[in-house]
């Protein structure tokens, strides 16, 4: 297609799998260790962030994963944690998280990971860990989860004092004072929380959680892409899909509007992203010219030999057939003027049933002989056109010839016949060529003298052809459907024809009627009757050929029109009407460029387009992801307009403060466009001129740890928030120490 030549091939980003690391997780120096310095651990379901609170940022950030690796040779089991799992391919692929969804399910892993964390922080144990600890837990943490944490921290590690808090609140606290009003949207890995805060205290009773986070988004993207490309040659890893989500997805400022024009050429030129799975390309070894030449020669020689063999065989067969024909011709001559009985006996001696059988045989023999001669003629056309074979023996009577000469004569006879046939075929060819030439000339003249008529005629023919083809295509699809009218009719016809007693004809004669003499059978009296065989014979394969034939004719007509009709352009051709530019599906699957299914690179490419906004949109419309929950902005709207003594028309002071101090935190909030979208939603549902401030820190995933650090550095608040080992032993595992950053008791 000429128009496609101008389309530049799309640039593809190669999507590498997780790179292996070279250096294991470093150890902090034990020299600086202070036993009373609180340790802050953000034990997230994705990453662990850990450090002493006197550090500016966590000194260790690593994936919350663990691999137990058994070395068979050494017969030893090693445990690798966090970044150390990324040192080796096998170890990496076997890494498991202590989490199942948002809940911790493997507490042995938790113990191992905590120990590893302390060890890397340079903690010197002294009958357990002497440092106070700040750790996060889920909003409305399940009691058994907290019990297990108590056990691990107080009993296993013997930690004197632990402050538990909600990560979303820690994130808020990192940037705000303990007495401020605000609203936090915490976008976590497994859930998203919306928390109102009044006077520094989180109103957990008004807090809502959407069960959707980064990991669900990545899973959703994985499902969407595997359904989009069901025959994708390689399987991408979770890491690669996460990369896709992080690098290319964004929150649309106005989803409804953007999605409606997403799959248009203009938009896709900017928004379509092509990612390519890495693969090893198999390069066919290039043969040298010399090798190719030898190969070609060999092939040619082989072909020639085979041709000669075949020719020899054909000739032998022909001679045999000619002999046969002559023999039977003699018999035929004998039959002339004989009584019927003698004829029959002669024929039966020769191996025939009766005269009819004999005639049929002769007819067939003659036919095949003629056919063979014509083939032979075509084959020999070039070779021995000029060779005037000798036909000298033909004139001489058989009786005057000896055995050898007789054979030669037969051969000459055959050659003569084939020569004649050849001449005839040549004449025929010349005649056809002449007729064609004449027709062409006539047409050209017509075109030159009266272009508009010519165009009209051609266009009319084209329209008819296109319609015919369309009908056939429709018939073909109908044929595939067993229930369609076309195939039902066909089955009916087949059944009717196969039946011994056709249903047609109301009155049947008593006497036995065969297919030949049934007086009631008027089939064939009307010429249209025969069309039934046409209908029956219509199967998809034959239709395919017919459609192909139509298409050839259409293309030929179109090329003529393209040349001479000034009003007929590429746009009007049949091909243009099936153009990928007009196909939503093509744009969706292959982007704004033609697709070459032979290209190995294109086979390994995925196009991200609507998915880029569809996946993050689930936070705002959870129904897209199959969640029967309200979206982020709806939850904010409820809190700001209907709670804390607010009315949709008049906002309370707390609600005004919240709208003016809203924070978006958490790793999943790093998706581009998040803040802009929240601003837009807020302006939409809040009364006009309500001051809005939406904040987002530059490194949202660190916010929680920074909040922990702030708490650890404020001794009075820390002491008031932390639960000591003594308190744990005194009050038991059900004890919750309520404070501004933590969970509260389950019951009021």
């Amino acid at each position: 297609m000429s128009r496609d030549a101008s389309v530049e091939p799309l640039k593809a980003e190669v999507l590498e799998d997780q790179p292996l690391l070279d250096i294991p997780e470093p150890f902090d120096s034990k020299a600086d260790y202070k036993a009373d310095m609180p340790i802050a651990v953000d034990f997230g379901s994705f990453n662990v962030r850990a450090g002493f609170v006197n550090q500016a940022k966590p000194s260790h950030v690593f994936r919350n994963e663990l691999t137990r690796y058994r070395d068979r040779k050494l017969a030893q089991t090693f445990t690798f944690i966090g970044n150390d799992t990324l040192l080796d391919q096998t170890v990496m692929s076997q890494a498991k998280s202590p989490f199942d969804g948002s809940l911790v399910t493997n507490w042995d892993y938790v113990e191992e990971i905590m120990e590893y964390t302390f060890n890397h922080l340079g903690v010197v144990p002294d009958d357990g860990i002497k440092n106070p600890l700040i750790i996060n837990e889920k909003l409305a943490c399940i009691q058994s989860q907290r019990n297990n944490w108590y056990q691990v921290l107080f009993e296993t590690f013997n930690i004197p004092k632990v402050a538990f808090g909600i990560d979303t609140l820690f994130s808020y606290y990192a940037h705000n004072e303990m007495s401020s009003d605000g609203l936090v949207i915490g976008c976590g890995n497994h859930d998203t929380n919306v928390v109102p805060i009044v006077n520094g205290k989180a109103y957990l009773t008004e807090t809502k959680r959407i069960n959707w986070g980064g990991s669900q988004a990545v899973d959703f993207l994985t499902d969407v892409m595997t359904l989009k490309y069901p025959y994708f040659p390689t399987k991408l890893t979770n890491y690669q899909y996460r990369k896709m989500y992080q690098d290319y997805c964004y929150v649309s400022p106005n989803y409804g509007e953007e999605v409606s024009k997403y799959l248009t050429l203009d938009n896709l030129v900017n928004k379509n992203v092509v990612v390519e799975a890495p693969f090893t390309e198999i390069i066919q070894p290039q043969k040298t010219e010399e090798e190719l030449r030898i190969q070609a020669e060999k092939r040619k020689e082989n072909g020639k030999r085979l041709q000669e063999q075949a020719k020899q065989k054909r000739l032998e067969k022909l001679v045999q057939k000619t002999e046969e024909f002559e023999y039977f011709s003699k018999i035929k001559e004998q039959l002339v003027d004989q009584p019927k009985k003698t004829v029959l006996s002669i024929l039966q001696n020769a191996g025939f049933d009766d005269e009819r059988d004999f005639k049929k045989y002769m007819y067939n023999l003659e036919k095949s002989l003629k056919k063979a001669q014509i083939i032979e003629t075509d084959k020999d056309d070039e070779e021995n056109d000029d060779v005037e074979a000798k036909f000298d023996l033909l004139e001489i009577e058989d009786s005057k010839l000896d055995e050898e000469q007789l054979k030669e004569k037969r051969k000459q006879k055959f050659l003569k016949a084939s020569f004649d046939a050849r001449q005839k075929a040549k004449e025929e060819k010349a005649r056809v060529a002449k007729e064609e030439e004449e027709a062409r000339k006539k047409e050209e003249e017509w075109r030159k003298t009266n272009l508009s008529d010519w165009v009209k005629d051609k266009r009319g023919k084209l329209a008819v052809l296109v319609k015919k083809r369309k009908d056939k295509v429709k018939l073909k699809t109908d044929m595939k459907d067993r229930k369609s009218q076309a195939s039902q009719k066909r089955m009916k016809n087949l059944a009717n024809l196969a039946e011994d007693t056709p249903q047609s004809g109301s009155k049947r004669s008593r006497h036995q009627a065969t297919i030949d003499n049934d007086p009631n059978d008027t089939f064939g009296a009307n010429d249209d009757d025969w069309a039934v065989y046409n209908d029956v014979a219509q199967n998809p394969e034959i239709l395919d050929e017919l459609i192909e034939e139509d298409y050839r004719q259409i293309v030929e007509l179109e090329s003529q029109l393209l040349e001479f009709d000034p009003n007929f352009t590429e746009e009007d051709t049949l091909d243009a009407q099936y153009d990928w530019r007009n196909s939503i599906l093509h744009l969706f699957l292959r982007g704004p460029a033609p697709h070459d299914s032979e290209n190995v690179h294109e086979q390994h490419q995925m196009h991200l387009n609507v998915e880029r906004i569809r996946v993050p949109e689930i936070l705002f419309q959870p129904s897209i992801g199959g969640l029967d929950q309200a979206g982020v902005s709806e939850l904010c709207e409820t809190i700001l307009l209907r709670k804390f003594n607010s009315k949709p028309s008049v906002l309370s002071q707390s609600a005004l403060n919240m709208a003016n101090n809203t924070w978006i935190t958490g790793g999943n909030s790093r998706i581009p466009g998040m803040r802009e979208r929240i601003v837009k939603e807020f302006t939409q549902f809040l009364p006009s001129n309500t001051p809005i401030t939406i904040n987002q820190s530059s490194n949202a995933s660190l916010d929680a740890w920074l909040g922990m650090r702030k708490l650890g550095n404020n001794n009075t608040i820390f002491d008031a928030s932390a639960i000591t080992k003594k308190e744990y032993e005194e009050y038991g595992a059900d004890y919750i120490k309520e404070h501004k950053l933590g969970n509260i008791n389950y019951f009021d």
Binding site: P19, L20, D22, D71, K73, T77, F78, T79, F80, D84, L87, D88, V91, D100, S102, L103, T105, N106, W107, D108, E115, F118, N119, V124, P125, G128, K138, L139, A140, C141, I142, S144, N148, F157, N158, L204, K208, R209, N211, D223, V224, L227, V259, S260, L263, S583, L585, V610, E611, S623, I624, G625, D628, Q629, A630, I744, N745, Y746, F747, D748
Partner: protein, 166 residues
């Protein structure tokens, strides 16, 4: 740069055991190990570390199990409160304040928008045979109509509309 994949098996083994050795503690941190050290000395601890760990089944519960246990726990408390109230009408029952269940966001009250299950564009039509929503006739003709029964469920699963056999 990275030679992790070019190592021979022996080199790899050595490398990995080296990493593991770096992470061996100088002094134990966990109560159980500290106790072993106090009683039997370093040799006993080293032996204990090599022993395969006992499976502690109490701790390995799936997320589903944990959630249903929490429901049971809360229901038990509610029942208890009810009983106390029946015995003494003056008793004020405690009500759930914040549990993992009541912080879950309620269903949306906004009208649910329909999107094409295949492309994600607007989805004004629904296939009568398998309930797939689709954007236009082209998508119906090439994707929805020839869809095999398993695949339609996969698509419906995306928006939680698939059939779940229980």
């Amino acid at each position: 740069m990275n030679n992790n994949n070019t190592r021979t098996n022996d080199e790899r083994s050595e490398f990995l055991s080296g990493i593991a050795a770096m992470n061996v503690l100088e002094q134990p941190m966990r109560r159980a190990q500290i106790d072993i050290l106090k009683e039997g000395g370093p040799a006993a601890l080293a032996a204990a570390l090599q022993r395969p760990k006992k499976k502690n089944n109490r701790r390995h519960k799936g997320a589903r199990q944990i959630l249903s246990d929490e429901t049971k726990r809360i229901n038990a408390i509610l029942e208890q409160e009810q009983q106390k109230h029946e015995e003494d009408p003056a008793y004020v029952r405690r009500v759930p304040q914040v549990t993992t269940f009541n912080v879950s966001a309620p269903p949306s009250v906004r009208p649910v928008k329909h999107y094409c299950d295949i492309t994600g564009l607007s989805g004004p039509y629904t296939s009568p045979t398998n309930n797939i929503r689709y954007h236009n006739s082209e998508i119906f003709q090439f994707i929805v109509k020839p869809m095999t029964p398993g695949v339609d469920q996969e698509y419906l699963k995306l928006r939680g509309a698939n059939f779940v056999l229980k």
